[in-house]
């Protein structure tokens, strides 16, 4: 009996891919023409920045924290991209590097003072929002031409967004899940005491993960502004919630260092496509956020069910 049932871990690992497949089938059923190069190009237009933001969130969740400022940060990066990076590229690059350093410092502050990350990052979200408003009081600006050209590259056979997402998933998977240092970084989320007892610095792991979150946040903002070519201070506010949902959809847990970069990227795509399905179904866009929430709840419910079955064994 048990031999016939797939292991709960396998079920859990397959959930992100299954939910994405289910969504694709539904889209195909409603709008067969969408399942094509052009269809995907259109539908997954914004998958790239969302995937980067999701990976940024994943880095923070790995070390048992939560980043409620990622949306505001991505917006800020987009604003820098639409202004300084275009007008004075050197200044723009310096500011973006500085922003990553700020992220690392936030991680250090959280670790050293043992602060709740949600309050600190909520405060940071106001900080980034304020910076964006200062930089770009009203929507506008324009992205550097090279950036716009880069993110809109037409690749043969498979749309660019899918290729970038796949590459992102692969790189982060190798770095975090396969490398020797990745094991320590995840271990710091799983059993910090044991990792510290084995002689590793928890401060360093936290700073590394927050700096990585900042780095991926920068990539998210740049790819976003490349696609939209202009920015505003609130352009990516939704990303905070989307990125958390993406990590969770992808099989990540909030505590204990259990994350899956591949799953998270799939989760980000699922959330992006969910919007398309709704519009194919002619459901008002009012329900877009609600649908994302519902997907999140359904996935969490499924996972709770799998966990419960596992415990019963």
């Amino acid at each position: 009996m048990n031999a016939l049932m797939p292991s709960p871990r396998l079920v859990r690992a397959a959930l992100p891919a299954l939910s994405l497949a289910a969504l694709l089938v539904a889209i195909w059923f409603v709008q067969p023409r969408a399942i094509s190069y052009f269809g995907f190009n259109l539908m997954l237009n914004l998958a790239m920045p969302i995937a980067f933001a999701t990976i940024a969130q994943l880095c923070v969740i790995t070390v048992n924290d939560l980043d409620l400022s990622i949306g505001a940060f991505v917006s800020f990066v987009a604003c820098v991209g639409a202004t300084w990076l275009n007008a004075t590229p050197l200044l723009g690059v310096a500011v973006l590097l500085g922003a990553v350093v700020v992220y690392a410092l936030v991680g250090a502050l959280i670790h050293l003072r043992n602060l709740p990350s949600i309050v600190v990052t909520l405060g940071m979200s106001f900080f980034w929002l304020g910076c964006s408003v200062l930089l770009l009081p009203s929507p506008g600006g324009s992205a550097p031409a090279w950036l716009a050209a880069l993110v809109k590259v037409r690749t043969p056979l498979v749309p660019f967004a899918i290729l970038v997402s796949a590459a992102l998933a692969l790189v982060v998977h190798v770095g975090l899940m396969r490398s020797a240092w990745g094991a320590i970084l995840r271990g710091a989320g799983g059993n910090p005491v044991a990792v510290a007892r084995a002689g590793w610095s928890l401060l360093r792991t936290k700073v590394t993960m927050f700096a990585l979150a900042g780095f991926f946040g920068v990539l998210s903002g740049l790819s976003l502004v490349g696609l939209t070519t202009s920015a505003d201070a609130n352009i990516a506010i939704r990303y905070t919630l989307l990125s958390i949902a993406g990590v969770i959809l992808g099989g990540g847990e909030f505590v204990g260092g259990r994350v899956s970069p591949v799953g998270a990227v799939l989760g980000a795509m699922t959330l992006t496509l969910a919007g398309s399905l709704l519009s194919f179904l002619r459901i008002s866009p009012d329900w877009q956020i609600g649908a994302q929430g519902a997907i999140l709840i359904v996935v969490l419910a499924l996972r709770a069910l799998v966990n419960r079955l596992e415990r019963r064994r």
Binding site: R113, P116, V119, S125, F127, W287, Q292
Partner: protein
């Protein structure tokens, strides 16, 4: 002699963590009126009392949630406010006769959201942050779908209630002061309040001391949601109708007033007066920066940095814990 007087003063203020928020609010008020050479001081104060009211109502609910221990926070407040405001306006439909049914509907909204939040926390056994976040997605969508294009004005009496004054003091402020006094009593002098404080300090010990931890948490999430809903209704009454984004600023604000008001984010230690002090502080800060001609950007940056500074300074000091 001097030494002991000083240390007594230190003890006295340590027992009153809310003091600092009032001191901060007072200093900012003085700075503002000094800048305008005293002109409009009274108006600023009245406006502060009115706007602080909304922070206070939401903040008290959030404070109870945060007090129940680390990880507990209600992120569904903004969506809740948007939905409750829309429901209030639609049910009341501009008619004085419908105010009471409208408020009943608002209470029902709060109750439903609170129950939903806690059901997610319990049944899916997920952290409250994510539970309230995912619930807020659904609530927000409901609010958008339900309240789109809603242009119903609040009933005259309700609007009067939200904007009127008695002897120059906003009615809303009076209500909020009464509510705050009542909730301070609930926190200190009821079994429920004591249970909240105990759970926040040590949930396991609380269970072993006979407290029904799950029930108390349930009640707390419902409390927070109901307070947020009423805030939504009052906000709609105050601003002449519901708007979908009127709850946005309350996500940070509700947490900020709790933290600035001297409540420990580690749980088990909180006070109601601090919510008032912090709410006045936050509003007066905005007023001051406006008076100084500082733009919205700097204002936001300062708000964020002040919250981080407050938590960084107070967070390390966890009384009694290694």
């Amino acid at each position: 002699m001097r030494q002991s007087a000083f240390s007594r003063l230190a003890d006295w203020s340590a027992e009153r963590p809310w003091l600092w928020s009032f001191v901060g609010a007072g200093l900012i008020f003085l700075a503002t009126t000094a800048f305008t050479s005293g002109k409009g001081g009274g108006d600023v104060l009245t406006a502060a009392l009115t706007f602080a009211t909304f922070y206070v109502i939401v903040g008290i609910g959030q404070m109870f949630v945060i007090t129940t221990g680390p990880g507990n926070v209600d992120l569904s407040i903004p969506a809740n406010i948007a939905l409750a405001g829309a429901v209030a306006m639609k049910v009341m439909d501009g008619s004085n006769a419908m105010i009471v049914p409208g408020l009943a509907a608002v209470a029902a909204v709060g109750l439903a959201i609170g129950c939903f939040n806690f059901a997610l926390i319990r049944i899916l056994s997920i952290p409250p942050i994510i539970a309230t976040l995912s619930a807020s997605f659904l609530v927000q969508s409901t609010a958008i779908a339900y309240g789109r294009g809603l242009r119903i004005k609040p009933p005259p009496i309700f609007a009067e209630l939200a904007t009127g004054r008695v002897l120059g003091v906003p009615i809303l402020a009076i209500i909020a002061i009464l509510v705050a006094a009542a909730m301070a009593l609930v926190l200190r002098r009821t079994v429920y309040g004591r249970s909240v404080l105990a759970i926040g300090q040590n949930a396991r010990a609380a269970g072993l001391a006979g407290i029904r931890v799950a029930r108390v948490r349930f009640a707390t999430y419902v409390l927070s949601a109901v307070f947020a809903s009423f805030c939504g209704a009052l906000l709609a009454g105050f601003s002449g109708g519901a708007s979908l984004n009127m709850g946005e600023e309350f996500l940070l604000a509700s947490i900020a007033v709790v933290v600035i008001g001297g409540t420990s984010v580690a749980g088990g230690f909180s006070n109601v007066p601090g919510i008032w002090g912090a709410s006045l502080f936050l509003y007066l800060l905005v007023t001051m920066l406006n008076t100084f001609g500082v733009g919205a950007g700097v204002r936001l940056i300062l708000t964020g940095l002040i919250i981080i500074a407050v938590i960084a300074l107070s967070g390390g000091r966890r009384p009694g814990r290694g």
